[in-house]
Symmetry: C3
């Protein structure tokens, strides 16, 4: 069951090349991160994060550096693309081809931005399929995730997710900056709209298509007050918590501190885990004793509430499986042990 849970609490983009002495500085810093600073997904960014004249160097950095590290999560480079511009799609095709050729064993898939309607997403999937086959990888071994940031992609989200249910499509990631520009949204001094309708639909369609849903970047990294500039921890946490409430599986990170916060928020708190493990233990006891209906701590446990407890435990097991250092740091060993051993079956 845990194997089915695809983990992407954090989708951290890192520019693949920056105009510094070491142009791979940020990429390498992502690859070296550990503990809570290590994102579940690291996204070497060949698109908007890398300047137009450094794309080639960014691709080279990605191909050179990624294999040098035993990165504990998944690697998903973001390439160039545009539903409305064939030149960008040609660039994307070449980038995908080279990434699969050189890094096919190191990456889980590629992230394609600025997709349009269903047909454009299918076109991107076709490009990945061609690279996969050209370079001798098995069917569907290279994944595809997309950035939802155009009116057309949002309009076709239901169909795109349904297509995703039977394809290499893995995650739907929100891209609010492009999206707001495309719709002509305005920042009248209090920030961009949060696009709550889109977020709800993203969460729903991802669920209906068995895909992951990921929130958009938060770029007000720093605040200034009373002469001091400091990391804007509060507002980022507000955004990530909002996304977690709506059932998004993860959040976008631009920065190691954001990764710590998003990894943490998309992980049950010790109190949540203790509560839900306890409820399932009590439920299992009652089942063994043959008591039918079970009221635990004043709450009737039916199949719907049971599912919520189960979600908590399965998320912890999935993290424990892939990031044992994080669960070891966050939970008591004895609680963790109970979570690992629990029987999870309502019937």
């Amino acid at each position: 069951m845990t194997d089915d849970i695809r983990l992407c609490r954090t989708f951290q983009t890192a520019p693949a090349a920056v105009p510094k002495d070491d142009s791979a500085k940020y990429l390498v810093s992502g690859l070296e991160a550990d503990g809570f600073q290590a994102p579940d997904w690291l996204v070497p960014d060949l698109e908007d994060g890398t300047a137009p004249d450094m794309k080639a160097e960014g691709l080279e950095n990605t191909i050179d550096r990624v294999p040098e590290y035993e990165f504990p999560g998944e690697i998903w480079p973001r390439v160039e693309w545009s539903y409305e511009d064939a030149d960008y799609r040609e660039k994307g095709r070449n980038q995908i081809d080279q990434l699969v050729a050189e890094l096919g064993d190191d990456i889980e898939g590629v992230v394609v931005p600025k997709v349009g309607r269903l047909e454009d997403v299918q076109r991107a999937a076709e490009v990945v399929a061609e690279a996969e086959s050209e370079h001798g990888y098995p069917d569907n071994s290279i994944g595809l995730s997309i950035i939802v940031e155009t009116g057309r992609a949002k309009s076709d989200l239901r169909k795109i997710a349904a297509f995703g249910a039977e394809s290499r499509l893995t995650a739907l990631v929100f891209g609010p900056v492009d999206y707001t520009a495309e719709l002509g949204g305005r920042d009248l001094g209090d920030g961009r709209p949060r696009w709550d309708g889109l977020l709800e639909e993203l969460s729903n369609e991802a669920s209906a298509g068995d895909l992951l849903s990921i929130g958009g970047p938060f770029d007000d990294l720093f605040k200034e007050r009373a002469g001091l500039t400091y990391y804007n921890a509060d507002e980022y946490a507000d955004q990530v918590e909002h996304e977690a409430r709506l059932g998004l599986d993860g959040s976008w990170s631009l920065y190691p501190k954001q990764t710590i916060q998003a990894n943490t928020i998309h992980m049950p708190t010790p109190a949540e885990l203790e509560r839900d493990v306890h409820k399932i233990e009590r439920f299992n006891e009652a089942k063994r004793e043959g008591t039918g209906a079970v009221t635990i701590d004043g709450q009737m446990v039916d199949e719907a509430t049971f599912k919520n407890f189960e979600n908590t435990v399965q998320q912890v097991r999935a993290i424990d499986d892939r990031r044992p250092a994080q669960t070891a740091e966050r939970y008591d060993e004895s609680l963790l042990e109970r979570a690992r051993e629990l029987e999870l079956s309502y019937q």
Copy 2:
């Protein structure tokens, strides 16, 4: 015109069997309710409200007790079902078959939970059709209502409601606990999300398909403060009012006091009725005098505003027709008489 208004201000579920001396206690209490405590729809619950090992007794209770009472509203038992589990669908099929066989004249239809995409809703409709025909009931005499509580059902809501426009489908009911679990939504201490996007769409699609739309249950029945535990009237009323604003036709009740509140909120206030009856009376006068455009109390009455006044009066007439004790209790006899006699035609 009033005949067309299907009334479901309250959708009250009652466990069909509970582990008490009288296992039908809550079911009977629902069947005996009168005045504002009597729900428009009483839903004997064979699904999550009844423990797994009491399902058979719950079905028996329903079949035995329902015919014993002259319940003033409609009876809609909820059966088991799941879009992702054939065993549950088989249980549902048997329950529907027995309910129609034994109670076909006493129930208006059945409520099917955890439906998935359109095809699954059509499958449930087919099961009802088979039972109906098997036991000699006329076409479409047994209704079907569904709980919208999966990503797939929400994703297909537009198609499901369009199918509903030409079928036995009667109501779309929201199921927030399962829905939140399915999407992986989180309660971070301030409750589940309200799912506003879904509620708007539920109201819209129900309207477009001539169906009823019903809100989800509110299960924080009691509050504790300063040593006292008391009924949580405020928060439930907030939820029901929110649903009423968005055009939902009714709200889910788990408890007689909730039924009183939901029945009341989904009924025009005496002030609303007085105001709208008055406006239509003035409008009708002006029409008789041949004045074309009518400004009443400073407001120009056009066809759109007229429709809003008409909604008020028709809702009261529908309640008056089926629950005369409630209208008699809520409105002055003279106001009620004016509402009954009003000519309702803009042209």
Copy 3:
């Protein structure tokens, strides 16, 4: 590029006939408006704004008066229609036929209210096509805009907008009064719901179909406090700003003061224009100097952020093109000159 921007910051309806000595009073006042009081679109209203017994006079007023003025914006009469009533559609057909016959050179198109599903919108488009051809106008020379105010139109919005992408369909306009009545929404003392889900979708689908999106009317024109009745400037501005944030292209106006406010809000502020012109100037400099990645005033300028700056400048150019008096009044001549001369290309 500017030619592509269709301008409708203000959609001002004016009753085509009112029961006054001069029945065309409000229509003429709209036609004579200048400066910021002149709406981008003036909508002579033959539907709900004109009483049933004055429709013929309203049509006559429109046909007589419109050609007498050099109105600086576009003229879009609203006719009668209803997806659920063939009589209204017949009235609409006759009104469209006469408007095209007599005013085909003076109007940009017609506004059709109360449309239902896609098929009904296509039916309205067909009626316009017939009038156009009957009276010798070229294909697609007479536009069609629709009021989205029924559950069915909202349900089909995605398909309607996709149809719009390849047809004479020009704008999607929200009609909240009818919409609320159709869904059975309630005003419990704090106004109608804002229908945020619908507004987001309207903005998205208009963007995906290259259409305009326009908000609904605000009819609490006046407030009374402490014995004084005064124009309700604040609440209208709040609504228009909300619409602007969500990317709606314009707002509905019922009154010259509302037109001033909506024209102003849907126009970048001088500070916004100064900021975005400055950023593009700096970006262009950096490009000429061969610097790849550009950080301007602490913000990394990528293609997505560039698009937002570009939006600001293009909107100002479009207004400057068609309403030079307004840009002259709002911006310094030197700033305007910089906006006019800027090179707008990210590559």
